[in-house]
């Protein structure tokens, strides 16, 4: 019973190639919606199987444990909804003749390949092949970021491609080092690269080698995850990419990179104990939160604003993972809620951009009264991202604070202080945008665009609300088994 997994990784690729072949817009739209449905269903089914059976694997090639299933859910859901949004958004661009039919189909081809690469990466068993898939996603993203060929877009794309290529290269060296130290035990073969195998023999691996390997993969994949100080490409890319892509980058790709780091962390923890990797991650995480908190205040561009908030939240999630125990629970939960909230925020931002054709924060006010959908999206997302109930980010942040306080109280003090600062600065900007009286008129959006985008926003907000204060039992099983992957038990007195 493994077809859903196969479907999950193949559907986007097929849809992508398909939209390259069929050139009519309507056909592409249908294809995309079909793909969205397919990955959504497939992701749900895969997760279901994993919840039931613990693991799903196809050949020696694909293997999905709780962590992968978690990522499947995130990427699958956000990807599917993002596809709907993209149909609305890019369609609008085309209606306004900013886009030729050829470029239209190219966009969706790249978009789907990008999605496919990410979905593949999280379900692969072999860490080296996972690297290849991630590199694939990097490259397709590189093309998407520079998609509209403005100077800014090119600059952002260039920076992205250089920095993340370097990062990814470092990550590969990390992988090689793991292989280098594991092949003595598992033999010179694919076995030596399967994480399932690695976990098994991790205790026997050479600590020194694994340490170095972890540092390389932390910095390598960390560059992709936008951890400070490797985050520098992130604001540019998120701001200049077409908004559906910004949403995907922030909600999916960063999460994917975190996933990759986690795979290595799991091995490292088994080999040298959780302290080493934990401390490194905690340090960088706090740095990331600090950086983003300070940059909220000086923002002039609302897409950059949300980009920095991604840095902050990836930092928070990593802090959770770095702490371990139910910190892992919180971190994973944080990733999912962040993905939902952040994509919502970018959906809203995209609509605003379509209307005003500029990204200047100072000139956008009174969204609630002028663009109810976008306004609500940004307000709700802003409240959620600021870490307020009834949204899950509050839950995870408190849990992380708890975990941190248990492990290292001083970390908690710093963490809470930074959170408060980030709260103030982010909310200040978000409220400035949404409340008040509208500034300029802008150009109204087309009907189709409105339908698709508001559907996307609506679904996201509903999802965000439902899992706000309540972890569905299925997801809870996933989370607990994720915690087990990191060797922590869930001692959770209620």
């Amino acid at each position: 019973m493994s077809w859903p997994l196969v479907l999950l990784v193949t559907a986007p690729v097929m849809a992508g190639l398909g939209s390259l072949l069929v050139r009519q817009r309507r056909a592409i739209e249908v294809l995309q919606c079909a793909q969205a449905g397919a990955i959504l269903a497939a992701a749900a089914l895969v997760a279901g199987h994993v919840i039931a059976a613990g693991e799903v694997s196809v050949g020696g090639f694909l293997r999905t444990d709780a962590l992968s299933a978690w990522l499947d859910l995130i990427i699958g859901f956000v990807g599917a909804i993002g596809t709907l949004y993209a149909v609305g958004y890019v369609g609008e661009e085309m209606d306004r003749a900013h886009l030729s039919g050829r470029r239209y189909s190219q966009f969706f081809c790249l978009f789907d390949l990008y999605l496919g690469a990410m979905l593949l990466a999280v379900n692969l068993e072999n860490i080296a092949i996972m690297w290849i898939a991630i590199e694939g996603s990097t490259l397709s993203a590189a093309l998407l970021i520079g998609f509209d060929r403005s100077k800014a877009a090119l600059e952002a794309g260039w920076k992205y491609v250089i920095l993340s290529s370097v990062g990814i290269a470092l990550a590969l060296f990390g992988t090689i080092l793991v292989y280098y130290s594991s092949e003595h035990i598992l033999g010179v073969s694919n076995e030596a690269l399967r994480w399932s195998q690695l976990y098994r023999v991790a205790e026997e691996l050479d600590p020194a080698a694994i340490k170095v390997a972890f540092i390389f993969s932390l910095i390598g994949y960390g560059t992709k995850a936008g951890i400070a100080p490797m985050h520098t490409w992130l604001p540019d890319a998120h701001a200049e990419a077409p908004t559906p892509i910004s949403a995907m980058l922030s909600a999916n790709m960063l999460t994917l990179a975190v996933y990759a780091i986690l795979r290595f962390k799991a091995v490292t923890d088994r080999t040298v104990g959780p302290e080493f990797a934990g401390n490194l991650i905690i340090g960088l995480a706090l740095l990331s939160i600090a950086v983003s908190a300070t940059f909220f205040l000086v923002q002039k561009d609302y897409k950059r604003l949300f980009a920095y908030s991604s840095i902050e939240h990836i930092g928070i999630a990593l802090l959770g993972f770095g702490i371990g125990g139910f910190g892992v629970f919180a971190g994973a939960w944080h990733l999912m809620n962040h993905a939902l909230a952040k994509s919502t925020a970018f959906y809203g931002a995209g609509l605003v951009f379509l209307r005003y054709h500029h990204k200047s924060l100072d000139r956008v006010t009174g969204l609630l009264s002028q663009m109810p959908i976008a306004g609500t999206a940004i307000l709700v997302a802003g409240v959620a991202l600021a870490g307020l109930p009834p949204f899950g980010l509050f839950i995870s942040e408190v849990l992380i604070a708890i975990g941190a306080y248990r492990a290292k109280p001083e970390v908690t003090y710093v963490f809470l202080a930074l959170l408060a600062l980030a709260f103030v600065t982010l909310l200040y900007q978000v409220l400035r945008m949404t409340l008040g009286t509208p500034g300029e008129a802008g150009t109204a959006l087309g009907k189709q665009c409105r339908i698709f985008t508001s559907a996307a926003v609506g679904i996201n907000i509903v999802a965000l609300g439902t899992i706000g204060l309540y972890v569905p039992p299925g997801l809870e099983t996933l989370l607990t088994s994720i915690v087990k992957i990191f060797g922590g038990g869930m001692e959770t007195p209620r």
Partner: protein, 675 residues
């Protein structure tokens, strides 16, 4: 009790959701929202009363899938008392709102306003009911969030947005401290349930206890509006629609008082050094005095009332602080008395402050201005509102026989009984606190003589006031309810004291009902009749009887003389509003006497006629007082952060090589660390 609780829950939830189902039908939304709110708060009143009378705390809980979180509620006497307070205010405001919100039709989405109103009431109720730290934090934050959105109801106004943001930031920073305080308790017990907070497996070390005390004081103090954390309050409360201001000022800040009592007397088991109590006392005295002093200088009625909330929180803390001091010396009955006094003032302030804010709302409704100088002569146009406002004013000025007087009298007593304390220092400090309290209440009296006199008496000072008309019935009913409660709590303390005793007794470790009530309930006599006694019913009767006597004498000695109506003597010219004493003029002496605190700056510009320097064409006068804490404490902070952020922009300088260098350096540093 479960049924009552569920009824309350259902009512609020219905009021939360249903209005949203009828978009663009404001009148329906209005009725649904406030009708259900009224229903639910009615249930809340019953719940509170039953809870106060119940022998044992009532608990219920629903498990959650989140670690450490469980939706547990516990209705002990303390919680019940606050539920009662919240629900009373909730009921009155709901009735009032029925009429009041009509002026928002078309301007504001009634659906949003109504459901936020219900959500706000619900969250406040849950705050006092929560029995799990995590749950508490959630509803606490929800309360802040919802109240924020209520504050910015009229967000098209810039000052409203500013007020809201200021409030939101302050309260959230406060929450950070609360989280820390809870984490300290959590550390000891490994659980967030209040039960383990109460009885941790291993006791907290002294240092940790002190830290928890301070964190709680800062965290909850921010919400309560203690000086110097009060700065948000005079912005936020006036910015909200008046019935919301009534709830925020009357009730919301009380949840902080609840939490403080919960933490100090319940979690920390009332075991603390005397200086904790002294700190609370100090904070209370400062807040009381500065609160009323800044209130005096306000001519925006709602800001004035907001500052009085700071004052009254101070008075409440005086009572509680005294109680804590006595507690730390094991003087149980006095501890109970102090606590009782504080709690009594809590509910009293909730009632008369809500009443006054509703009154202010009515004035706003009738005149569309909040500026005292533009009112005047309203008592003849709005007799009902005027009467209710007067009752509120008399109560807040602590004049017999109203409720404010009773509770302040009790606070006085608990401060005077300080001669039983062992140390001379405290023996001196508490009476001085009493003196400060006396000063405070007289200044409050002056302030409300101004507020009522300038706005309701003499001639109308503006076209607004001339056009004013009495407000619709629901609003009057709402105010009438609160006014009658104020009087009742004043003349019938024997009803309230036993209930309050049930709240205080468990914490102080003894019941003092018998010691406070004398002459089978007709007099209060803490802690024995010899020391002091007070009987408001007697005073009320006496006052009535004697004014009858006065009337009698007048008739007897003078016979029935019909009095003649004639215009006031204006030194020969006809009296015009411009000759009346203004609010500014009224407080001028006070401003001058206390100029060290106010640091007033006065600007007077005069344009003379060209012909002669002896005739002024127009004079422009303005004075403003220095908001010390903002200028010297908060503004510098803001400046610091903004400049810091500005400096740090160089990190993101845009150069690819720089970025590559970051990665390179990080890599090398980490590698060196690892090896």
């Amino acid at each position: 009790m479960l049924n009552l609780f569920l009824l309350l829950l259902a009512g609020y939830v219905a009021g939360l959701l249903l209005p949203l189902c009828f978009p663009a039908k404001p009148s329906i939304q209005n009725i649904l929202a406030h009708g259900f709110a009224g229903l639910a708060s009615g249930a809340g009143i019953l719940l509170g009363v039953t809870g106060l009378l119940a022998p044992e705390p009532w608990t219920a809980s629903a498990q959650s899938t989140v670690p450490f979180l469980s939706f547990a509620v516990r209705l002990d006497s303390l919680a019940a008392f606050f539920v009662l307070t919240i629900s009373l205010a909730g009921l009155a405001t709901s009735i009032f709102a029925l009429g009041y919100v009509t002026e928002f039709y078309g301007r504001v989405s009634l659906g949003a306003l109504g459901s936020l109103f219900n959500g706000f009431l619900l969250s406040m109720t849950l705050v006092v009911l929560a029995d799990n730290g995590f749950f508490f934090l959630i509803v606490w934050e929800l309360m802040s969030l919802l109240s924020y959105f209520l504050v910015v109801t009229e967000h098209e106004k810039a000052e409203v947005r500013y007020a809201g943001l200021f409030y939101f930031i302050m309260t959230h920073v406060g929450t950070a401290f609360i989280i820390l305080a809870f984490l300290i308790f959590f550390q000891a017990g490994g659980s967030f349930s209040f039960e383990t907070f109460r009885h941790p497996p291993q006791p907290l070390p002294e240092g940790m206890r002190t830290l928890a005390f301070l964190m709680a004081l800062i965290g909850f103090g921010t919400k309560a509006g203690i000086v110097p954390l009060h700065v948000w309050l005079p912005y936020a409360h006036p910015a909200a629609p008046s019935h919301i201001s009534a709830l925020m000022s009357g009730v919301m800040i009380k949840t902080a008082i609840y939490a403080l009592i919960r933490v100090y007397f319940d979690f920390l088991g009332g075991q603390f050094p005397w200086w904790w109590g002294f700190v609370v006392l100090l904070v209370g005295a400062t807040s009381a005095l500065l609160g009323v002093m800044y209130a005096l200088m306000e001519h925006d009625l709602k800001r004035l009332l907001a500052f009085h909330s700071v004052e009254n929180i101070g008075i409440i803390l005086l009572g509680i602080g005294a109680g804590m001091i006595f507690q730390s010396y094991g003087l149980k009955e006095l501890a109970a008395l102090g606590l009782l006094a504080g709690l009594y003032h809590t509910i009293n302030h909730a009632m008369f402050k809500a009443l006054l804010f509703l009154g202010a709302g009515s004035l706003l409704y009738a005149t569309h201005t909040r500026n005292l100088e533009e009112y005047g002569g309203l008592l003849r146009r709005m007799p009902w509102t005027g009467a209710f406002f007067l009752i509120g004013a008399v109560s807040i000025s602590a004049l017999p026989p109203t409720n404010g007087f009773v509770s302040e009298w009790l606070v006085f007593q608990s401060l005077f009984l300080s001669f039983q304390l062992p140390t001379v220092f405290l023996k001196l400090m508490l009476p001085i606190a009493a003196a400060i309290l006396a000063l405070t209440s007289v200044l409050a009296l002056a302030c409300f003589a101004k507020a009522f006199g300038i706005s309701f008496l003499a001639l109308p000072r503006s076209a607004h006031a001339r056009r004013a008309e009495e407000v619709p019935v629901p609003m009057r009913v709402g105010m009438a309810l609160l006014a009658s409660i104020c009087v009742a709590l004043g003349v019938a303390p024997m009803v309230m004291v036993p209930l309050l005793d049930r709240v205080a007794a468990p914490f102080a470790g003894m019941s003092i009902e018998g010691k406070v009530l004398a002459m089978d309930g007709w007099a209060l006599a803490p802690v024995n009749v010899e020391f002091s006694s007070l009987s408001t019913p007697a005073l009320a009767l006496l006052l009535v009887a004697l004014s009858m006597l006065g009337l009698g004498l007048a008739v007897a000695l003078g016979g029935r003389v019909k009095s003649r109506r004639y215009k006031t003597w204006g030194c020969g010219i006809n009296l015009t509003p411009r000759m009346e004493y203004t609010a500014t003029g009224f407080v001028q002496p006070i401003k001058r006497v206390f100029s060290t605190i106010y640091q007033p700056t006065v600007k007077l510009e005069t344009e003379f006629l060209e012909e002669s320097r002896y005739f002024a064409k127009r004079r422009h006068f303005e004075f403003h007082i220095e908001p010390i804490f903002q200028t010297y404490l908060y503004d510098p902070l803001v400046v610091f952060f903004t400049t810091m952020a500005d400096r740090l922009r160089v990190i993101q300088a845009g150069s690819l090589h720089l970025y590559l260098t970051y990665i390179f350096v990080t890599l090398i540093v980490l590698l060196l660390l690892a090896v």
